[in-house]
Symmetry: C2
Subunit: 397 residues, 2 copies
Amino acid sequence: MAVRVPKGFLVAGVHCGLKRDLRKPDLTLIVSETPAVAVGVYTQNLVYAAPVALDRQRTPSDRIRVVVANSGNANACTGERGLRDAQEMARLAAEAVGAEEDQALVLSTGVIGHYMPMEKIAHGVKLAAAQLGSDEQALISAARGMMTTDTVYKLAGRTVSLRRREIQITGMVKGAAMMGPNLATMLGVILTDAGLDIPSAQAMLRAAVADSFNCINVDGHMSTNDTVLLLANGSAGSGLLSGADLASFGQTLNDLCAELARMIPADGEGASHLITIEVTGCKSREDALQIARTIANSPLVKTAITGADPNWGRIVSAAGYAGVLFDPAGVSLYLNGTMLYQGGTPVDFDAQAVSESIRTNRDTHIQLQLSEGSASGRFWTTDLTAEYVRLNADYHT
Amino acid sequence: MAVRVPKGFLVAGVHCGLKRDLRKPDLTLIVSETPAVAVGVYTQNLVYAAPVALDRQRTPSDRIRVVVANSGNANACTGERGLRDAQEMARLAAEAVGAEEDQALVLSTGVIGHYMPMEKIAHGVKLAAAQLGSDEQALISAARGMMTTDTVYKLAGRTVSLRRREIQITGMVKGAAMMGPNLATMLGVILTDAGLDIPSAQAMLRAAVADSFNCINVDGHMSTNDTVLLLANGSAGSGLLSGADLASFGQTLNDLCAELARMIPADGEGASHLITIEVTGCKSREDALQIARTIANSPLVKTAITGADPNWGRIVSAAGYAGVLFDPAGVSLYLNGTMLYQGGTPVDFDAQAVSESIRTNRDTHIQLQLSEGSASGRFWTTDLTAEYVRLNADYHT
């Protein structure tokens, strides 16, 4: 679980005035000393932010040198001016580290529909360029620079030995809210010093995202800014990975993304529970995920967990409107390991004990078993609390 | 807007111990003195309650005499025993009013997954049969007998003159929560003394529901019990309506259902705002409704209204993930009549004034204009408050 900056990368996170609190970094700079392969996976929202438009255009690439990320302003719904601002952010970042203009990518998160305060950005980029480093403190500052309502920074890493080289993969993400299906809303940057070609990098990132960031949500609202980038600069000296080495790298990437993904609902806005929903016995993985996602999106299921109420009726009825055909008489349900429901009817269970197990654990485990096949899927979400409402009714940075 | 019991019907609402509060009716009996045409529209949830199974089997019909409805227990997810209980409820109600067993329909709402306390039901049916009446007080008690977390009873009526007869249409509904698309979750009974044949009644009810109860939600959770029944007993002496008379009746039914539907989110659990979402300029009505529904389902849009925040970014971005293709550069948005957004970019507006207009009005009007065509759709929903969370985290009657 080694979390460190991979070879050949330098990072920094600084405060430049986008957030009010002076102690909170709001601009992150990530630099690769040599041109890196960069691939991205982006929001499916028709209304996407300017940085998404820019990154989509510039990836996949084999010559990216710098990523500039900011929190406090999403640069979304800002029209032509927003696009120019994103381009200018990229230009400033490239200039600050001696790269070419089109070697830079941009990530933004925060309030939608406000123009980017470019003077602050220009100041922040300079500040960050002067503080680039590869130690733990620099990495934490970089992760914190992307945070909005996140209460903790989110970093994870893996070290693997491939071709007799020590290869590092390190990811930083931000999440917390405005998350939904089709790329759960978030920003993520994964850095590796492995050598990857563009097609392999793109395929592996897509696969890893499908099983991780696309299986989480907080409120089902798909963001305008969702982006996950993977940068591979080859500095570990392994050469381009292929065959079994590439597969092994892919497995590690999946594992890392799952860990990072789970951190997001675990820190969901106002959440008091991380809910893992496992649906088994389905005809296909898509069916299982569709049912799990529908359960995860139900405010009635979420509030039941908030209230430590083993309300299997809400869970089973949510499955029933997922749009997947199944036999209700073949359904069983377990909550935190206790069977609540079997074959379409309730079973006797110690409601007090199950309620207690919900109340005293931050993790809640819902397992729904169908009898349609052998495919399964897993989804993570949060409960819904009065605190979530308070945070989102009063949201302004 | 005459609200009275149509000719040839008798109604009652009584307390029989399903709810704790002795002052709250929890069982409703509706009796037609002569066999009535009865048609229904039901939940699309795969997991549907026993009363839905029973009513689906018995409608359409031209010989229904009695409807028994209860709150406090939904008789859902109760398996074979639940089905037997629903049948027994029907039998008890039929017996109490001298009808045949299969001339009765059943409606239940309340907690899911508990067996129906049949002794209380038996007692309640007897009590109600002894109190049947056609005055305003009986009608209000009947409407109250279906209420769960509703804070007000929901009744509306229309009187129309057709074929030189005065025809009455009166509806009662309950709603409040666990509402979603595909029949917004609710119970509804519409009574008329008009004469209708089965095909006309069924077609008119479907059309009226599509434009009313299917265009509302509170939390997007589709219930196991959603049912709207229309009973027509012909007691007004008009004979079977046809031609222009039938069309006129249908128009009145649409209008009545829209009024009843709007009452439901207006009384949504913990709601502080009724939000009307109007989407215009679409290729089809389906597109417009899909976008309106997606906006209505976003917790971020709902909480913005709760907080009186004219956050058009959340609204426009919700439209963007509705799954309907449109040009984001052709989008304009009005909130309570003020333009916030035009052609893909924000416009200058007095945020304080718009915020004030949200804060000081219970009704909020969101109008999203696309530039794809000339179809439009309208959807009603509520905001999302800490009170909603409190109600649903602690829900037990």
